[in-house]
Symmetry: C3
Subunit: 360 residues, 3 copies
Amino acid sequence: MQSAASHDLAQRISYHGKPQLISVDQFDRGSVDELLQLATRMEPIAQRRQVTRVLEGAVLGNLFFEASTRTRVSFGAAFCRLGGAVCDTTGFTFSSMAKGESIYDTSRVMSGYVDALVIRHPEKGSVAEFAQATNIPVINGGDGPGEHPSQALLDLYTIQKEFSRLCKPLDGADIAIVGDLKYGRTVHSLVKLLSLYRKLHFRLIAPGSLELPLELVELLREREHEVTLWQSPAEALQQADVIYTTRIQKERFVDEKMEAYPQEFQINAALVNSVCKKDCIIMHPLPRDARAGANDLATDLNHDPRLAIFRQTDNGIPVRMAIFAVLLGVEQLVFRDLKPASWRGPERVGPDDAAFYGIS
Amino acid sequence: MQSAASHDLAQRISYHGKPQLISVDQFDRGSVDELLQLATRMEPIAQRRQVTRVLEGAVLGNLFFEASTRTRVSFGAAFCRLGGAVCDTTGFTFSSMAKGESIYDTSRVMSGYVDALVIRHPEKGSVAEFAQATNIPVINGGDGPGEHPSQALLDLYTIQKEFSRLCKPLDGADIAIVGDLKYGRTVHSLVKLLSLYRKLHFRLIAPGSLELPLELVELLREREHEVTLWQSPAEALQQADVIYTTRIQKERFVDEKMEAYPQEFQINAALVNSVCKKDCIIMHPLPRDARAGANDLATDLNHDPRLAIFRQTDNGIPVRMAIFAVLLGVEQLVFRDLKPASWRGPERVGPDDAAFYGIS
Amino acid sequence: MQSAASHDLAQRISYHGKPQLISVDQFDRGSVDELLQLATRMEPIAQRRQVTRVLEGAVLGNLFFEASTRTRVSFGAAFCRLGGAVCDTTGFTFSSMAKGESIYDTSRVMSGYVDALVIRHPEKGSVAEFAQATNIPVINGGDGPGEHPSQALLDLYTIQKEFSRLCKPLDGADIAIVGDLKYGRTVHSLVKLLSLYRKLHFRLIAPGSLELPLELVELLREREHEVTLWQSPAEALQQADVIYTTRIQKERFVDEKMEAYPQEFQINAALVNSVCKKDCIIMHPLPRDARAGANDLATDLNHDPRLAIFRQTDNGIPVRMAIFAVLLGVEQLVFRDLKPASWRGPERVGPDDAAFYGIS
């Protein structure tokens, strides 16, 4: 078992005193840096060079009431990398909730079977309701238009890791955020986490009515960051160190008449090569819509080492491992009894990965 | 490997000579008590204080052709707690059976891949058909209006454990069963198991046409239990030691016109506080329908320590572990090489759990 | 880690230099025999007499975009038997691909989470597209009308194992293939693998317009096999050592007017007992359609030891274990640190299994 001091991070970020991650509001600058340092230590395991069995015997309940592949597999694989086992539920059709079972009951029942819950649900506030009904660790995997804290954490981790590679400080950086800033929950959570840093310049580039909610703009200004608003990317991106793009969250709104971004909003090779810095990074929470007319982040950037979207998803594993380890109190035990992986993995995961991938 | 004597329980409860659990009829008083004593020994592992890897390398096939979350995850988590791995299948859409494959073929094919099968299927008798086609362990996870033996076993285990806590004997107890007694398969199976005890008083409280089938009433009388029938709960519950409530099994019938219970059938705080014993226990197989007008077991009892519904579901883990251990012949090996769990769990699983939860 | 020499098989069968199994074309006679010898060595583990944990810490991504139970569970169970963990995805509804995500993105993202991918997708060529986007092991679990290489390999393994039991050589054997030879991808892949052997006699028996594609007939003749075409089984089967039957692949075509085989195409006890050799074997890739009028492989053969269909599916485990072991580079490490299985399995998996089952 671990000493009381090592549980200090879990206590500092706790949600109503419980080891649960519902919102990025649970973090301050110190605790988020500490969590992401732990994620860095997880890299050799996440990259399958080493194996730990620290959570052997533990079971995760991965309750996905809403469509997802990436997030569900990312959390499940992260838990397996810690030695645990995973029970998945997907959708509503097969669930007791289709028979009128309350969130309270579902949460309490599942909590008797598993050691932690990851929950994705289409209604804002629903995951907090699950969390209230149980004392076991609960992680918000996305509650509709609400939050998706692990995504924001892996986004921030990605920025830190890239800046470290580029020998740039994060304080004072220039961050461009492009697209649907109104409904993009990953944008909202990332903005809140970035606001913990110092003297950033946020360039908000949204089409028409999809602007960042005013309260978030005000939060950034209260914390003494510079915020500028732009109508299109071409003007805005020259100084950007980070270009964070999103897709139109069509499934989140009914009133907006927009189906896809205007053409000028597409981040593509022509635009990036003509205006962007040589050491900028381009991010996207994925999935990106490859269909014609969607004008989402372009595939002609796939060979550009500035495209960081797959480094982002790869980073989901060490970050989610760190979250599990902290909430379950094993963050120090993880690193005892490591053994080398018996199988061989490729040097680079993807054929288009930049040469610096995988070095950590 | 274990000695011949330790397999004696598996042989005594065997189904046509095979290690399969299809019906509660497979038990007599001695064998059910022995199984539930084994479940008691599983508690430290079920409560995640200890870890066993006894079934490491074993694989469970969890074949759920019908909607369920709780039962599937409960069986899956129980198998993981023994160190095994789980392969789930849900529904018919993705299955070979949608291409006309017979139960016989599906069963024999799956049996070549896994070490045990849990099967839930909407047709009565279907699981027995799966069991006939294979020699590997098969557990009936519910065959339509037929049986759900592990539910009845965990219900009985719950009653025994609660009575033990309350220092009451089970023989001679007063058992009220409320609701849809006609289609409630968990009620049928539980009544059969309880009939193995002595001198119980069964109070059957069903609305209108939803009475307990006559053959079960006759079984109880043959075994010298007292059986009284009631039209509504208020009159019947004063002496009850156990109040077992059910929901209307709408999905099981087409002819009944009933959509929900009449208001007077709802077990709620007002009723319980006015008529019930201070040391009674209130049970329900779940899910309970929280929607307005359903009149299912009320949530205003959530803070009442007599509400045992979550202790019931928690008990599903040690009981299902015991079933797996017996059918796979590892019931003695489980307790060698136990190690402490590396992660920390909460003292009480749920914030509304009574103070005596978790002490075993 | 293993010596360079032991990776030689992975290099010889590699797909564009990567440890990926997309098509049976990747094999020559030497490499397929070597893979199947490795499968033979896996039998004690596949039959649950021994346990290995060689892939402990590894995670498989089992991406099934199309209906399947058997193949998904077979691959999943095989990976668990090697000590690994499995993350499943089924269908399109829950996937990012429903939001327009490209195959390239899905593949690269998943490759950052798991150590190997098994993919089944309804479009021919789709799995090759997944494979191009990643450097990790990818196994084609079936790409629509394209290939299903692991099925062909386990079919060939079955033939070799049965012939070994019957003390017959495979070179020079008489192979009858019956049914939908036009759309049956398992037939196409098996024919290609069998063409690597010598002096076989292929008897192709297809109704109407469902004949084996001409290019495959020509391949067989180029490789000096005898090929004869037949209109119905009764005339063709007398000399057959192997009778490989298929079902009509209705889901693969829209133009054919055929709904089911003509009655004379059904392989049943009457036909087999009247014309077939006493030591022939009868195979089918399953599922077989048990519905009236389908005229698929008959159930009245279930007690005939010549019916090898369940030995075929059982063989899927050692063959898939061998594939995983080679692609992940652990084929020698598997056999160190084996331990006996702690649980007991039945002597014969199925009650109708012939007496020689399970002896290897």
